[in-house]
């Protein structure tokens, strides 16, 4: 069953932001946000609504956001994308605006990338929104398996390609990981046809939106991180010399010779079990004791 059939009319929203190409620095879709939009399109089709909080005067920002609208194709229903652009200054705090908008539109499932590619990029927006709205938040999500009226089942990406299944109560925020399925291409026609609604007057003007916390920060071009050198801690000149002169590949492992294939297999399986790489699904071999004494 595809996630789209199982969906039970949950209002789905994707938070998007402008991105930068990692090599060329060219403005465009953010990689994780595009994956979040792709996930949302696969889930609800063209009913997915997009939202961004930013400066509506900024033409390059609008060009970036149009690329997300260009993803509304091949969905079966010919709906064009709608993106709500919440008007604020570039230095303002986006969280109160987004929270107010999400409450107002009665959103149930909010998809977003894990971390923005421009600005601070702290990855805190989903958590701050969840805290403010009292919603659940799930991070590093690789896929949505099922979505029904009050919960969504997702796969969470773990290190080394492993996956974990989580059931998250709705309403919730889902931060999409970079290992999620790649997004569809952005097409020119849908991007032109899509609509950008500029939303103003969401929160009363008396609320201070200006992000004061970052006033004292100093921004500087990113430096290359220094490579860690291999330092040999030894009080002894002889040891230091030996470490510097030694071939790095010679690690002095255990070498087993003159074994029949059966013995070799036994040793190999024992080693793998000892290192907990193989489970103990089969009975332990007879010679486990002898191999333990060998080592």
């Amino acid at each position: 069953m595809s996630p789209r059939e199982s969906n039970a009319n949950v209002k789905t929203v994707a938070l998007v932001s402008s991105g930068r190409h990692p090599v060329s620095g060219r403005a465009g879709r953010a990689r994780e946000d595009a994956r979040a939009v792709e996930m949302g399109l696969a889930l609800v089709g063209a009913e997915l609504s997009l939202v961004h909080a930013g400066d509506p005067e900024d033409a390059s920002l609008q060009a970036c956001l149009r690329e997300y609208l260009g993803m509304y194709h091949g969905l079966g229903d010919d709906g064009d994308g709608v993106l709500s652009l919440l008007s604020m200054n570039a230095e303002d705090d986006a969280v109160p605006l987004l929270a107010a908008w999400l409450e107002q539109t009665d959103a149930g499932l909010v998809l977003t990338g894990q971390r923005a590619e421009c600005g601070e990029g702290s990855g805190m927006v989903a958590y701050l929104l969840a805290e403010r709205l009292g919603w659940a938040v799930a991070t590093s999500v690789a896929a949505i398996e099922r979505c029904d009226r009050d919960s969504v089942t997702v796969l969470q990406a773990l290190p080394q390609g492993q996956r974990r299944r989580l059931e998250v109560r709705l309403p919730c925020l889902i931060a999409v990981d970079g290992v999620a399925p790649p997004p569809r291409q952005s097409a020119f026609g849908p991007a032109r046809r899509g609509r950008i609604d500029i939303v103003t007057d969401l929160v009363p003007a008396s609320d201070a939106l200006v992000d004061v916390g970052r006033r004292d920060w100093r921004w500087q071009p990113a430096r290359t991180r220094p490579k860690r050198l291999k330092v040999v801690k030894s009080s002894n000149a002889r040891d230091r010399f030996r470490a510097a002169a030694a071939k790095s590949s010679a690690s002095g492992g255990q070498v087993l010779t003159d074994l029949t294939p059966e013995q070799a297999a036994e040793k190999l399986i024992d080693y793998l079990r000892e290192e907990k790489i193989l489970g103990k699904e089969t009975a332990p071999s007879v010679s486990e004791k002898s191999s333990a004494t060998d080592q």
Binding site: R20, E131, P159, G161, E167, Q220, N236, S249, L259, L268
Partner: protein, 447 residues
């Protein structure tokens, strides 16, 4: 005046390390490291008088120095590596909390770097570095640099993913001890998730002080450098919550700490008797937020090779390719290949390991019939355990391996399958692996 006489038998025994009486007659060490970590030298014991009656100093280190009995028996820590300076902090002025990742219940390199960063922050302020773990079986926290240890394994259920319960436990620590800094590993979905949750929770009360520095890669002179988006770094004062990348600081290597267990008194009471009604209700309310439904079985061939945890790699020495594919299935390993196996058309190009292929980081890498060209060894430099199965005992892969088995690869793999209860010879149809291989090839081409 007596003439100094040398007993040639004793001298011979002294020179012969393998002699049974060598240890009785060997001279005491001329140089040792005292319990305080200071190198001591006894100038009179330095060197040895040769047969010609002249004192000779042997700097090659070839002569064995017998340890003085008092030092050798004093502590077990002297036996492994150079001794560390012991640091005791009884009355700390503040606490620096470190929440290590502990993959597989062990301290990773990233965790050690976090402790190094914490020591850097604690230095000069007489603060105690405190490890906060959700696992009661961690060891080596003393050498990693923890002065205190808070074990919160009672408040969470084993290995399940319940960030909300963990967050509640950390919040209790925060209210009880109010530490100066919290340090997390900025890795999803572990410390990066938990640290951001804690920051968002604390931002309810005080948004400015709880604003975390994420992706911190350097701390110097009270300022932290964190990597922002769009190729920028942010330099600012070190905030209360720090989410640090790997290699953010040098790990602790010269000092030994106590890791004294600390219990939080109210943790047990609030959990059992529910003293504060608000915390109890919030705990039950958030309990349903995220439910862990367990691990999902992943097809090892679907995992990207660079991330795969367990790789069975084949080279020129493999002739029975069906047996090899079967062995990979039986062991549950991802398949890798050397360049030769790929060039001969036996494996897909996307499976090639090495400088021209993929750099892998498996925790276990089995090389069957691979002699270990330099380019291949570069590709497996990050693997933790390497097993070589090869006919040639002198090849480079055997020298590199942690366990080397000198035998025919095909025969060993067949025996492994047999021993694991799934003999493969002739069972699988000849067309099946080939079809699978072709499907895989087309998938990688499409990608």
């Amino acid at each position: 005046m007596s003439v100094r006489r040398i007993d040639p038998h004793v001298e011979r025994i002294r020179r012969n390390r393998l002699h049974p009486r060598h240890h009785e007659l060997a001279r005491p060490a001329w140089r040792w490291i005292s319990r305080e970590g200071v190198v001591r030298i006894d100038p009179h014991a330095l060197g040895a008088i040769g047969t010609n009656g002249i004192k000779r100093i042997d700097r090659s280190g070839a002569a064995v120095e017998a340890q003085p009995l008092t030092l050798a028996s004093s502590s077990a820590s002297d036996e492994r590596g150079p001794s560390r300076l012991s640091v005791v902090i009884d009355e700390p002025s503040g606490l620096v909390m470190v929440v290590p990742e502990l993959p597989e219940g062990r301290l990773s390199d990233h965790d050690r770097d976090l402790f190094g960063l914490a020591r850097q922050l604690a230095a000069g302020h007489d603060m105690a570095v405190t490890a906060v773990t959700f696992d009661s079986t961690v060891n080596a926290l003393e050498d990693a640099g923890a002065d205190r240890w808070i074990d919160l394994s009672m408040s969470v259920e084993g290995d399940t993913y319940d960030p909300e319960a963990r967050l509640a436990a950390l919040e209790r620590v925060e209210t009880n001890l109010s530490p100066a800094h919290w340090i997390f590993a900025d890795a999803f979905p572990g410390g990066g998730d938990l640290g951001r949750r804690l920051a968002a929770r604390l931002a309810r009360h005080d948004a400015d002080s709880a604003r975390p520095a994420t992706r911190v890669w350097q701390v110097a002179a009270g300022q932290s450098l964190s990597r922002a988006g769009d190729r920028q770094d942010i330099q600012r004062d070190v905030p209360r919550i720090v989410l640090a990348l790997a290699e953010c600081a040098e790990p602790v290597s010269e000092t030994h700490h106590q890791a004294r267990p600390v219990t939080i008194e109210t943790a047990a009471t609030s959990a059992t008797s529910a003293t504060s009604a608000t915390s109890a209700t919030s705990a039950t309310a958030v309990a349903a937020g995220i439910v862990d439904r367990g691990r999902v079985a992943v097809d090892p061939q679907e995992i990207p090779l660079a991330q795969a945890p367990f790789i069975l790699s084949a080279g020129r020495g493999v002739r029975d390719w069906e047996g090899y594919h079967h062995a990979a299935r039986v062991l549950g390993a991802s398949e890798g290949a050397s360049r030769v196996a790929v060039d001969d058309g036996n494996m897909a190009r996307a499976r090639q390991v090495g400088a021209t292929g993929t750099f892998v980081s498996a925790s276990c890498y089995i090389a069957v019939g691979i002699s270990g060209a330099v380019q291949h060894l570069q590709g497996i430099a990050k693997c933790q355990r390497i097993i070589a199965i090869n006919n040639d005992p002198s090849c480079d892969m055997v020298k590199r391996a942690d366990l080397a088995i000198i035998a025919d690869g095909d025969a060993v793999l067949g025996a492994v399958c047999e021993r694991l209860g799934q003999p493969g010879a002739g069972v699988s149809a000849a067309s099946e692996p080939a079809a699978q291989w072709q499907a895989e090839e087309s998938r990688h081409v499409a990608a």
